[in-house]
């Protein structure tokens, strides 16, 4: 497989010359899947090659006729908390293990309309609760860079699939870092849009005030192509907003939208505390590269950022406990016979047996922080801290083009390393939750390989200004000059 078709933009160029190349491309992807999926386990549901080849006929015809969509040729992996009509959608949970949605999420409608082919549904932490994909009720996904390590989470399957060449790109979801964390751990690019830029209709809710669908790809340009397609107002989502569009153009010609004197801010609390030495040193090296390329780096302090993690978890767990109340096995999902039994008994059994440990923990804690007598102390207080976080971050973004930080404070942990102690697990979200609380966009770009493991930087931008964020990300990606990165596991296929 040529390096040039590793990216979506490269693939599109090739298909423009030779539409029938798509069949070769599909064969290649499935060859890789056959070879390594058994080890990586990125997918919960993988579509058969024959189905995909049949769908490809239609796309090839459209390519030949010159009326193909912007994603024609792309084999996209979709995280299994995004509903796909007729295709099993499980949220990696026992409680939805046989759920067949009768409708498509809006983002799915949009990518299909642009002629993408969905190759499968990817593994995740159950109901998106986790940062390593070890909380899946079915099996953990492994990091293609080191199979004894986690790929990050909760969109671990999506990131692993892209990283291991099992898909062209993927859709993930990000509530507290779940697109950026696995992107960082797998040397792929992951973007969390401004809250509301992408429709949540069909995204199975975890924390409604923070959830967003985000693209994962091998380059900033690839991610921006997908963002163009999925973003924009949806009449089915009251929280969705208009999209300026033009993200791909911004990535391709960043200096058309950026001014020449770029200035980024480093929030010292996100670097100084709790960041592993190798990650910190790599980050400082990256900063020096940026400075020597004319980007000004300013260090400042944002004391409230220390409290963003507890505030995030209180709010996320509260909203999760509410969003997961609907799972009782009556209309869909894990079922217990109802005859002769009280609803109290049936519901409790279904929910106790159907949900995994971490999910149950968050539901219980979430109910606690919303309960009478504790609401003010926890949920209300956390929402006030959220306001302070947002105001502080927006103030910084008014004076700087972006905030830059290591995406993750650690190298990809080994399986089992973080999962035993919940606080140890929650702690690795420290740098990512800020953007979710504030509702602003953020992107993770691979910045280094340290001890053969991926390290990434995160750029946080101003709300609804993905155009500038993507442009700046492209510039930084250019300076770092590593993309697209291919893990040793699949290097021989390129």
């Amino acid at each position: 497989m040529d390096r040039e078709v590793l990216t979506l933009s490269g693939l599109r160029a090739k298909l423009a010359e030779n539409p029938r190349f798509l069949y070769e491309y599909i064969e290649f992807i499935y060859d890789v899947i056959d070879a390594i999926e058994g080890k990586v386990k990125a997918f919960i549901t993988l579509r058969g090659k024959d189905d995909v080849l049949r769908e490809a006929d239609r796309v090839v015809d459209k390519l030949i006729e010159g009326r193909a969509g912007r994603l024609a040729g792309a084999l996209l992996a979709v995280k299994d908390n995004i509903v796909t009509k007729g295709l099993r959608t499980t949220c990696a949970s026992k409680i939805l293990s046989d759920f067949i949605p009768p409708y498509n999420a809006t983002v799915v409608e949009r990518i299909l309309r642009e002629d993408a082919i969905i190759i499968g549904k990817t593994n995740m932490d159950e109901f998106a609760m986790g940062s390593t994909t070890e909380n899946s009720a079915f099996f953990p996904t492994r990091n293609p860079w080191d199979l004894s390590r986690v790929p990050g989470g909760s969109s671990g399957g999506s990131a692993a699939a892209v990283s291991a060449l099992e898909a062209t790109a993927a859709l993930g979801t990000d509530t507290g870092g779940s697109v950026r964390a696995p992107a960082a751990f797998t040397a792929t690019v992951g973007l969390k849009p401004t809250y509301g830029l992408v429709s949540r209709y069909g995204l199975i809710a975890y924390a409604s005030s923070m959830d967003q669908v985000g693209p994962i790809g091998r380059t900033v340009t690839d991610v921006s192509i997908i963002l163009d397609v999925i973003s924009g107002r949806d009449v089915k989502d009251a929280t969705s907003a208009h999209s300026r569009g033009g993200y791909c153009e911004a990535a391709v010609e960043p200096f058309k939208v950026l001014h020449p004197k770029l200035r980024v801010a480093v929030i010292e609390e996100l670097v100084v505390e709790g960041v592993e030495k190798p990650v910190k040193h790599s980050f400082l090296r990256t900063l020096r590269k940026l400075e020597s390329n004319g980007i000004e780096v300013v260090w400042l302090s944002m004391p409230i950022s220390r409290y963003s993690l507890p505030a995030y978890y209180i709010i996320a767990m509260a909203e999760a406990s509410s969003n997961l109340a609907r799972y009782d096995g009556i209309r869909y999902g894990f079922h217990e016979s109802v005859e002769g039994r009280s609803w109290y008994e049936v519901y409790t059994n279904v929910r106790t047996r159907g949900f995994g440990k971490e999910v149950k923990r968050r539901i219980l804690l979430g109910s606690f922080v919303l309960s009478a007598g504790y609401y003010d102390e926890y949920y209300l207080r956390a929402s006030k801290v959220r306001k302070i976080v947002r105001d502080s971050l927006l103030a910084i973004l008014r004076e700087h083009d972006a905030v830059i930080s290591p995406t993750m404070p650690v190298l990809p942990p080994k399986l089992g390393e973080r999962i035993a102690d919940p606080l140890k697990l929650y702690a690795i979200d420290i740098n990512t939750v800020l953007a979710n609380l504030a509702g602003v966009p953020a992107i993770s770009i691979p910045s280094d390989i340290v001890n053969d493991l991926p390290v990434a930087v995160q750029l946080i931008g101003n709300e609804f200004d993905e155009v500038s964020l993507v442009a700046l990300a492209r510039v930084v990606e250019g300076i770092i000059n590593l993309a697209p990165l291919v893990p040793p596991l699949v290097r021989r296929y390129v």
């Binding site: 046989d98 759920f99 009768p102 409708y103 809250y195 509301g196 005030s209 107002r233 009449v235 009251a238 929280t239 969705s240 907003a241 208009h242 409230i304 409290y307 507890p310 505030a311 978890y313 209180i314 406990s321 209309r331 869909y332 999902g333 079922h335 016979s337 109802v338 002769g340 009280s342 609803w343 109290y344 008994e345 049936v346 409790t348 929910r351 106790t352 149950k360 923990r361 539901i363 219980l364 804690l365 109910s367 922080v369 309960s371 926890y378 209300l380 207080r381 956390a382 929402s383 006030k384 801290v385 959220r386 306001k387 302070i388 947002r390 102690d421 919940p422 929650y426 509702g439 709300e463």
Partner: protein, 96 residues
């Protein structure tokens, strides 16, 4: 929080959420919960006086819908995932 207090609220919250913790898991869960609640309690250090809570980042133009009917799902789609159905009704448990 004392151990009895924690167990007390665990029982209460189990009833609110209809999710139960098995007796064998109970000790472990309580330990974790205690740590997590202490972690939450660090927010007490923040001065939030005069701060308005932020429940959702503000929408410039809130979206509403025109009052025009649209056909929803067929009965077969609606009941596709229901495991017990009688004459088009979803079978549910007793309500007392």
């Amino acid at each position: 929080m004392r151990q009895e207090e924690l167990i007390g609220w665990l029982r209460r919250v189990e009833k609110l959420a209809l999710v139960e913790v098995g007796k064998d898991e109970e000790e472990h869960i309580i330990k974790d919960m205690r740590k997590i609640i202490e972690f939450f309690n660090t927010l007490m250090e923040v001065n939030v006086e005069g701060v308005e809570p932020l429940f959702m980042t503000p929408r410039k133009e809130p979206l509403t819908r025109e009052d025009v009917p649209v056909k929803g799902m067929e009965q077969s789609e609606a009941l596709l995932n229901a495991k017990e159905v009688i004459n088009g009704f979803v079978k549910g448990p007793k309500t007392i």
